[in-house]
């Protein structure tokens, strides 16, 4: 097992560097000029100024040269400076990361809990109106565009009912202590709920079909014949087997969510990585884009390593080689 882990860990740098190289080329080859963005529209600046800015940002060098310089920096852990904000990229990302992690954790945790519960309940009462209704709802939840759902939630819960604040992570009235935590939670509910919707649907469907399939197996009949109650059968046997795909899918979802629930963050004004990335794309802020991509790649690779290991723990049939 530890040989497996070691081998997987050794693959990580290669994977990340490979991704970084591909992304670097893609980002630099795409049309759009960061210098034009920095100077802004309505600009009647002399061309010498533009050239000088281009030189200072290293954009007048060849692509290969720029890539080489970037990789050297990257190896030292230096992600460079943002073209647009004139701040170290590492600081920018670390500054926004907690907000995204909070949103992601809230959304994925609640999605897993709710999705699994509903999936089990639905499988247990398969064929009834509850099951059919839940299936339909899941299909709807999966199909609704996040952006639209977000705006609807804002309109409904923030504006009409006034239950929740409409934007941002905290109100600006300077609450402290427990009040601040409550305030944060109040701001978190809507964006987390909107983000979770799709994941609830996915987890629900996976668990439901996993449990149903398991419940049809011979050993379940044996267990019932032995006299085991419904609850024990369901939770100790069926659910445990149905959880396997959930582990995998959660690992993948972390990668998606970490790259920033961009649309959710935009609609709710949540100051996370997703918005940072979106702004960086519009600004052609190459260092920030590269920094975010590298971080997401690293996180995805590591999380998937963890899920593979977990799989080996949960399912004794799996021998990790």
């Amino acid at each position: 097992m530890s040989a497996y882990v070691l081998r997987r860990l050794l693959q990580v740098p290669a994977l990340v560097v490979g991704a970084v190289v591909v992304l670097f080329v893609l980002v630099h080859v795409a049309p759009g000029d960061p210098v034009a963005v920095i100077v802004g529209p309505d600009a009647s600046v002399p061309p010498e100024y533009l050239e000088e800015l281009r030189h200072r940002l290293g954009l007048d060098r060849s692509l290969v040269e720029q890539l080489g310089l970037y990789l050297l920096q990257f190896a030292k852990g230096d992600l460079g400076y943002s073209f647009y904000y004139h701040e170290p990229v590492t600081e920018l990302i670390l500054g926004r990361l907690p907000a995204t992690i909070l949103l992601m954790a809230a959304a994925l945790t609640s999605a897993t809990l709710i999705g699994v519960t509903l999936g089990v309940a639905s499988a247990a009462s398969s064929g009834t109106w509850l099951d059919r209704g839940a299936n339909g709802a899941a299909l709807l939840a999966f199909s609704l565009p996040v952006f639209w759902l977000g705006e609807l939630a804002l309109l409904f819960f923030a504006l009409w009912l006034g239950w929740f604040p409409s934007q941002g992570m905290q109100s600006l009235r300077g609450e402290s202590g427990f009040g601040a935590t409550l305030d944060l939670l109040a701001h978190l509910v809507l964006p987390a709920a909107v983000l979770a919707t799709r994941y609830i649907a996915i987890d629900f469907r996976l668990v439901r079909s996993g449990v149903l399939e398991t419940l049809g197996q011979d050993y379940i009949r044996t267990a019932r014949a032995k006299g085991l109650g419904d609850r024990l059968v369901l939770f100790r046997h069926a659910l445990r087997n149905a959880l396997l795909p959930i582990i995998t899918i959660t690992g993948l979802n972390v990668g998606f969510a970490l790259s920033g629930a961009v649309l959710t963050e935009v609609v709710f004004g949540w100051p996370g990585i997703g918005r940072l990335t979106l702004d960086a794309v519009g600004h052609r802020d190459y260092p920030v884009l590269m920094g975010v991509f590298a971080m997401v790649t690293l996180a995805t690779v590591l999380v998937n390593l963890v899920t593979d290991l977990l799989y080996g723990v949960v399912d004794p049939r799996v021998r990790l080689r």
């Binding site: 963005v37 504006l159 004004g269």
Partner: protein
């Protein structure tokens, strides 16, 4: 066993859902009539104003960028020599008075006794430094004016003199906030002003001091207790929320989470709904008008042919643009190339061709574009900035209109970051729709589309139209302060442009600003970008 508790939970959930759905929308919170009636007319001090911008500014130094969001958020931190009042008149700010020599070339300003936010006094040396080393080199709106300056002198600490190479109608206006703000020399001298770390924590001498900038979330300013003007500002604190989505901004405003919303951040289709808020204050009168401009690329076929341009102009229904692209809100049908709202210079005798599809057809026949076997005369591309809704909708209207004249139009949405190169540097387009501001004066905002020297300039003469008569007329309008002479020059400009049609103004529009009912003192600058005079706002 399982099923009973599952059913109970499901029933509860369903009940909750049904009650929420049936609750229906609660009326949006409104300023109560009683409170408004009791509101005093004298401004009250204190409290926090919450405003909004669309994205993080590029920098806090307004003299090195033309970024609009930075303009909204950081202008209150600085002073300029002069200010533009609500009626377009130039009023004192840092300069308490000024004299202009008889030949119109020498401007002498006497400064108020003001202090920067770090306590050091503002002197003429700061003005001289800012004009020569920062704004004169890097401020996109000031550099054209600075080209007219021969020298800047600071004979004593409270006097600064600008001597121009020639008289200018707009030099005084170009010394206001949208163009140049005064920086502290003791902080910036000896450094590269574009790299100075102070740019993220700006220091000025304005009514508000910079407090904090949480990237992606908000910018906070607090009142400058040592501001050199008496009484203002009234608010203790101003917070600019950063909200990238127009829909979310509108909802936040309706909910009362933000107090003011400038027109530039409002999508046109939301205007009607926002106007319905009880007691809301709407300002669409004092704005510098903007133009939705359709520019033809006159350097290549088919638009190098005047007949074709005239034909296209005859085929387009500009009233439809006003209706469909602007939803009839704050937009008017243009009759010349200078917007109606610039009353001093708009000429009512000049008229652009009205819609006549038959005439368009016959002109195109004459120009060598008869209908082909598939019923189409020619195909052209129409580019626009895909992030601008007004440009997109206007482009769609133009495309639909031209179909009636058997012209096929392919829409070309462009990303903002590529516009400068594709359209202005390389002229890689056929037609281009763009929303532009007039900056309140033909010299400041209209000349740039038609003069030879503005070719290749970003948001300038994309058509590459070059006509010495036009250049001369604009030069004349710029170099005299005599109103009659300026009007004669711009009348000539409008006559020539209505004939040559390098561009077609599709709509003259105004941005519509909103403020909550409980905000007092709502007035607005007419020059450049609309922004609220935050220093004069208070909460009723």
């Amino acid at each position: 066993m399982i099923r009973s508790w599952v059913r109970a939970a499901a029933a509860l959930a369903a009940l909750a859902l049904v009650t929420t759905v049936c609750a229906g929308p609660v009326a949006a919170p409104a300023g109560s009539p009683a409170a408004s009636a009791a509101a005093s007319a004298t401004p009250k001090k204190g409290g926090t104003l919450v405003a909004v911008i669309g994205r993080d500014p590029a920098t806090g130094n307004m003299d090195i960028t033309s970024d609009t969001n930075g303009f909204f958020a950081f202008t209150p931190v600085y002073s300029s020599l002069v200010e533009i009042g609500p009626n377009g008149q130039v009023t004192p700010d840092l300069a308490k008075s000024w004299t202009v020599s008889a030949d119109g070339k020498r401007y002498e300003f006497k400064l108020n006794a003001a202090k920067f936010h770090d306590g050091r006094p503002v002197t003429s040396a700061d003005v001289k430094y800012t004009a020569e080393e920062v704004a004169g080199k890097y401020a996109p709106k000031f550099t054209p004016s600075y080209k007219l300056v021969d020298r800047v002198e600071a004979p004593d600490a409270s006097t600064v003199v600008f001597t121009l190479k020639q008289p200018s109608a707009t030099f005084l206006q170009s010394l206001a906030h949208h163009s140049i703000v005064i920086l502290p020399q003791h902080i910036y001298a000896g450094s590269d002003p574009r790299q100075n770390p102070q740019n993220s924590k700006p220091i000025g001498s304005g009514p508000f001091k910079f407090k904090e900038w949480v990237k992606g979330d908000h910018i906070t300013l607090e009142r400058n207790a040592d501001y050199f003007k008496p009484d203002v500002p009234y608010f203790d604190q101003v917070i600019f929320r950063i909200l990238p989505d127009a829909g979310s901004r509108a909802i936040a405003f309706q909910k009362g989470d933000i107090d003011t919303l400038t027109g530039q951040l409002v999508a046109r289709e939301q205007v009607a709904d926002l106007k319905k808020i009880a007691g809301v204050q709407v300002n669409d009168q004092d704005d510098p008008p903007g133009e939705e401009l359709l520019q033809f690329n006159t350097t290549r076929k088919p638009f190098n042919d005047l007949k074709v341009r005239t034909a296209f102009v005859s085929a387009i229904d500009r009233a439809a643009v006003v209706e469909r692209a602007f939803f009839g809100q704050g937009a008017e049908l243009p009759t010349t190339h200078i917007p109606k709202q610039l009353k001093l210079f708009h000429d009512t005798t000049v008229k652009l061709p009205t819609r006549d599809v038959a005439k368009a057809g016959s002109l195109l026949d004459e120009a060598g574009y008869p209908k082909g076997a598939n019923g189409i005369r020619l195909t052209v591309k129409l580019a626009y900035d895909q992030t601008n809704d007004a440009d997109k909708r206007s482009a769609e209207v133009v495309r639909d209109n031209l179909k009636d004249a058997a012209v096929q139009v392919e829409l070309q949405p462009l990303d903002s970051a590529v516009v400068a190169k594709e359209v202005y540097t390389d002229a890689n387009f056929d037609m281009w729709t763009v929303s532009v501001t007039s900056n309140g004066d033909p010299e400041l905002g209209i000349a740039r589309f038609y003069t030879t020297q503005s070719i290749k300039v970003s948001f300038g003469n994309a058509s590459r139209y070059s006509n010495p008569e036009i250049d001369q007329a604009f030069a004349q309008g710029a170099s005299t302060t005599d109103l009659k002479e300026r009007q004669a020059a711009y009348k000539k400009v409008q006559e020539i442009l209505a004939r040559d049609l390098p561009t077609l103004p599709l709509a003259d529009y105004e941005n519509i600003d909103f403020a909550r009912p409980d905000i007092g003192g709502v007035t607005q600058s007419p020059i450049g970008y609309p922004y609220f005079y935050i220093q004069r706002l208070w909460r009723k």
